[in-house]
């Protein structure tokens, strides 16, 4: 299992692996928003929590189809399925590898990007906390969607359509956590609800993803 995680991380970092793609996309969104809506702090500050969360979510979506598709195409998924490790574990480890290469860098870079959008200083801690607790759900739900669409050629569109509605609760609670933090309200309620979604996703979706893979490998 550790070997699988290390392999996936190594593949992501090597040329063409897609590491940095999510960060670059996040950067582009955050840099372009002030050009679109105007640079004044009065406009940017209220929308900053929502834009930051939306950017992180879309950046996460960008690399989802690679989770299983590359392994499916070169045949390694079949070998993984016959290896002495449970397929549920493989789904969980692949989601973890996706999170380490996208969600984690996004979380760490978010405070810097918050500056671009004039995020009020009370929001930074909550931004990092909400992304740290919310992005694992994005990777896990995404891994499930990727498992469902793995055998479809260019299934990226269907994957996006399947996964985006499932991302909505995480987005609502995540952005609301930051907004409440900025406005000085108590942000722990949405944060706890979002953490519950993350834990639920991590507990249930490896099984759903493994079942989807088994059907798709037939």
């Amino acid at each position: 299992m550790k070997g699988l995680l290390l392999r996936d991380l190594r593949l992501a970092i090597r040329a063409g692996g897609g590491f940095g793609l999510a960060l670059a996309f996040f950067l582009i969104v955050v840099v372009l928003v002030p050009f679109g809506v105007g640079p004044s702090a009065g406009v940017l500050a209220p929308i900053a929590p929502g834009v930051l969360w939306l950017g992180a979510l879309l950046a996460c979506l960008l690399s989802l189809d690679r989770i299983f598709a590359t392994d499916f195409e070169d045949g390694s998924l079949e070998f993984l399925a016959t290896a002495p490790v449970p397929l549920e574990g493989i789904v969980a480890v692949k989601a973890l590898a996706h999170w380490v290469t996208t969600g984690l860098p996004l979380t760490l870079a978010a405070p810097l990007f918050g500056v671009f959008l004039n995020l009020p200083h009370d929001g930074y801690g909550w931004l990092v906390a909400s992304l740290a607790l919310g992005t694992p759900a994005l990777s896990m739900i995404g891994a499930f969607g990727a498992a469902l669409t793995v055998c479809l050629k260019r299934g990226g569109l269907l994957l996006s359509l399947l996964v985006l509605p499932l991302y909505i609760p995480t987005l609502i609670f995540g952005a609301d956590t930051v907004r409440r933090g900025v406005e000085g309200l108590e942000p722990s309620t949405p944060l706890i609800l979002m953490t519950g979604i993350t834990l639920g996703a991590c507990a249930l979706l490896p099984f759903a993803g493994a079942a989807a893979l088994r059907v798709n490998l037939r």
Binding site: R7, G16, G75, S76, E78, F79, T82, A83, P84, R218
Partner: protein, 211 residues
């Protein structure tokens, strides 16, 4: 060299397998003993790949049973499962670690890959990739090899290396089921899948629903 009935590594009885919802094989029964090779023959589309995938547990059997395959088979299909950006040694080490086998040196040596060990897999020729794909079987430590057209794109010398690897595997008490059309220079039982072609009319489930 069949020994006794209870020594069979793999027992398949009255197996029927389907591809794309159509039953292509039925009534397949055979046993594989330690040290024995079963060669599957048959024209394209006769169900060789389907049978091997069913034995590997990648797809469920329509009916019948497979005993002994669980956690005992290593499957190699048409694709080699290589990552182009990883080196030959890294590719092999990953599978060795996953199957809990230590040391990839014997596998590299068996398929003459030692000099290529640090080369990225994407820089290999088709035959070299195939050799690496087959070397993976040696790091699984599994007793039953299921090989689907293993000699595609191999030259005569590499086929010889492959034959030698299979013979060593058999000598160590292993067994193999190989779908191939060429002579590997190994004493093998040959099974022609043409005689197991499914004849039952399709759509039975649909008809039953209205009876």
């Amino acid at each position: 060299m069949p020994l006794r009935m209870d020594d069979a590594l793999l027992t398949v009885s009255e197996l029927a397998c389907a591809r794309g919802g159509l039953t292509v094989l039925e009534g397949v029964s055979f046993e594989v003993y330690p040290g024995a090779v079963l060669v599957l023959r048959g024209p394209n589309g006769s169900g060789k790949t389907t049978l091997l995938r069913t034995l590997a547990g990648l797809q469920p059997a329509v009916s019948g049973s497979v005993v002994g395959a669980e956690e005992a088979v290593a499957y190699a299909g048409h694709a080699d499962g290589l990552k182009g950006t990883l080196s030959v040694a890294e590719n092999l080490s990953f599978w060795a670690a996953l199957f809990g086998v230590h040391g990839i040196a014997p596998a590299l040596q068996a398929f003459d890959l030692e000099e290529l060990a640090d080369r990225p897999a994407q820089a290999l020729s088709a035959g070299q990739k195939r050799r690496l794909g087959l070397a993976r079987m040696l790091v699984t430590g599994r007793p039953i090899w299921l090989l689907d057209e293993p000699t595609v794109s191999l030259d005569a010398n590499s086929v010889g290396l492959f034959g030698a690897a299979v013979r060593r595997h058999l000598g160590g008490g292993g067994a193999a089921v190989i779908a191939t059309h060429i002579d590997l220079g190994i004493d093998a039982d040959v099974m022609d899948l043409g005689s197991f072609r499914a004849t039952a009319p399709q759509g039975g489930v649909f008809d039953e629903a209205f009876e």
